[in-house]
């Protein structure tokens, strides 16, 4: 009854809310091809002028890091406080810094 739809790939949808902003992930949908995904994304995610530009990307084309947010993958940045401006004490009377 619905086997033909089960084979439709999943797409992730990204919307640029207005010029000057990044595309942001808003959700996903199934479609038979890229064109249909784009039309469905318009109908589903921009019914109220939520966007001026849409990206649809096949979910299986995305490579992701491990789900674990404590992952050692991100460890290299964990101990480098000197990358932040607040690491450097500057006297309060120094202007414009």
């Amino acid at each position: 009854m619905s086997g033909e739809r089960a084979s439709w790939p999943l797409y992730e949808v990204f919307v640029r809310p207005r010029r000057g902003l990044n595309h942001v992930h808003v959700g996903s949908l199934h479609a038979a091809d890229d064109r249909m995904a784009l039309l469905a994304a318009r109908d589903l995610y921009t019914r109220r002028n939520e966007g001026v530009s849409l990206w649809v990307v096949r979910s299986d084309a995305i490579t992701a890091s491990s789900p674990d947010e404590q992952d050692p993958f991100f460890a290299p940045s964990g101990d480098k406080v000197y990358r932040h401006p607040t690491f450097y004490p500057i006297p309060e009377d120094v202007p414009h810094i």
């Binding site: 619905s2 999943l10 949908l29 038979a32 091809d33 109908d43 096949r58 674990d68």
Partner: protein
């Protein structure tokens, strides 16, 4: 998946610290199963929820009302799809959920098994049914499962239009003829108690509530939400000029809330079991729409097979 003690305690810490559980995180099987059941039931409710009002689409009294009603039905389709997408992040397939709805293995909100007898019902559904849905849904924006919470944020923004258009429709009718006012009162009389039942059985008879609250899927008990809805709605009814059909309705100074009567829980159980006025009709309609749409899905698949992944985008 086998739970390591570490994974289990990390899950509990995420929930306890008001962080969000995300799709690829480890989660207890019962948490996943509860979410699948709840999100699927919620999605089905949005999809079936198009039918009672859809009944009036071709007979709306003006082009303005027709455009509004069409936009509302489109939103409900959209809400259903946001929710199916959220359910799919838990590892289920939307086609499978649709089949479970059609063959009765999964439920939808009992409210949609009542008929819409007059156009005033369209207004009362917006005011009371969508009003009750908003009470239920706003706390879900803080649900511990990220994709569900995010879908609810989008849905709640759109529901506000649904409730306001309903109330405005009723104000228009109330400013009309005596017959139109009677029509509104009749619709309120029929929808008030089913709306109160939307919050589910009383707390003592709601077996899954406690665990869902511990998991921060659910934030308030059924009875708390029902009380909140009554307190919000009574002043709206007064301004509208309708009477809520409950003789026990009285302001309780001490509680700072409205006392109200007990809904007929046996009626709710009947409707949930499939004995409501429109259960069979709703599922038949859903099945017919699914089967009648098969050729569209087949054509889209055939087109994609012929033209490749890009379709006609370029």
């Amino acid at each position: 998946m086998e739970a390591s003690a570490e994974a289990q305690s990390r899950f509990e810490a995420v929930v306890a610290n008001e962080q969000r559980v995300e799709p690829r995180d480890w989660m207890p099987d019962a948490y996943r199963a509860t979410l699948v059941r709840q999100i699927a039931q919620h999605a089905h409710s949005e999809i079936i929820g198009m039918q009672p009002e859809g009944n009036w689409l071709t007979r709306a009294p003006s082009l303005r009302r027709k455009a509004i009603l069409l936009a509302k039905a489109q939103d409900e389709a959209g809400h259903g799809l946001y929710l199916y997408a959220a359910a799919e992040t838990l590892g289920v397939d939307r086609a499978e959920l649709t089949e479970k709805l059609i063959d009765g293995r999964q439920k939808y909100s009992s409210i949609f098994n009542y008929p819409t007898l007059t156009f005033a019902d369209v207004g009362v559904i917006g005011w009371l049914v969508d009003g009750a849905a908003i009470c239920n849904q706003v706390p879900l924006c803080r649900c511990s499962y990220g994709p569900y919470a995010r879908a609810m944020v989008r849905i709640c923004k759109e529901e506000s239009f649904h409730q306001r258009q309903g109330y405005e429709l009723l104000m228009t009718l109330m400013a009309g003829t005596e017959g139109q006012r009677r029509m509104v009162q009749d619709a309120v009389d029929r929808w008030w108690w089913p709306s109160l039942m939307m919050f589910g059985p009383p707390d003592g008879a709601s077996p899954n509530s406690e665990r869902s609250m511990a998991w921060r899927i659910k934030r308030h008990s059924n009875d708390e939400l029902r009380q909140r809805f009554v307190d919000m709605t009574v002043p709206q009814a007064e301004i509208l000029g309708v009477t809520l059909p409950d003789p026990a309705l009285a302001w309780n100074e001490e509680r700072g809330s409205w006392d109200f009567g007990e809904p007929d829980w046996s009626e709710l159980m009947q409707v949930i079991k499939g004995q409501g006025p429109c259960n069979a009709q709703r599922i038949d309609r859903r099945r017919a729409a699914h089967e009648d749409g098969a050729w569209v899905r087949e054509a889209a698949s055939a087109y994609a097979a012929k033209h490749g992944r890009k379709g006609s985008a370029q």
